[in-house]
């Protein structure tokens, strides 16, 4: 009778998971590339970058931390999920946001979606690094 060996998560695993998660945040897909999940890395990078860049090209709103409105603050945390794209938003969106047109509203949603999707990718990178997910 064989018994399944359950992997015990070590501190080294947790460190690797945290490093992969940090990399996945700052550059979408980088965490999975570090973990040698090349297909996932490529797909996650393309997904987040297409949504974020297209959203900024459509002049969507990129929320700042300084806003007092609680919904804007939620939007900030969503946008922050895109990592480097958030900090480079002024480069991609030189003309600034314009939500007076429908395209700007769609763009705002695309940017927030990019951030929230990347949060799922970050969590997966953490789990794979810790070996709690195959």
């Amino acid at each position: 009778m064989s018994e399944e060996k359950k992997h015990v998560t070590t501190m080294a695993d947790t460190g690797r998971g945290a490093a992969a998660a940090a990399a996945a945040w700052i550059v979408p897909g980088l965490g999975h590339a570090i973990l040698k999940r090349w297909a996932s890395a490529a797909v996650y990078f393309l997904s987040v970058s297409v949504l974020a860049i297209l959203g900024m090209a459509m002049r969507g709103n990129v929320f700042p931390f300084s806003s007092a409105d609680p919904f804007d603050r939620l939007g900030f945390f969503a946008d922050l999920g895109t990592g480097a794209f958030y900090f480079l938003s002024k480069t991609f969106e030189a003309a600034g946001p314009d939500v007076s047109h429908a395209a700007g509203v769609y763009g705002t949603m695309l940017i927030a979606t990019a951030g929230v999707l990347n949060m799922l990718f970050i969590l997966e990178a953490f789990d794979i690094g810790r070996k709690t997910k195959p």
């Binding site: 297909a39 997904s47 949504l51 297209l54 799922l120």
Partner: protein, 57 residues
Amino acid sequence: MLNHFQTLLLFAFIASLSFAFLSKRRMGERLRYTLWAFLAFVLIAIAIGWLMYPFTR
């Protein structure tokens, strides 16, 4: 730039592809899941649009 329906299609495709890679391991499963989820996104969005239509009048 993209209109509302084009934005919907793009969002549906990227979300479907992302969830396929998050939940499946084999490429065949991922491709099938992507297609199924994309069709579901689009059909349900159109259905909800029609359900909201009477309230626009």
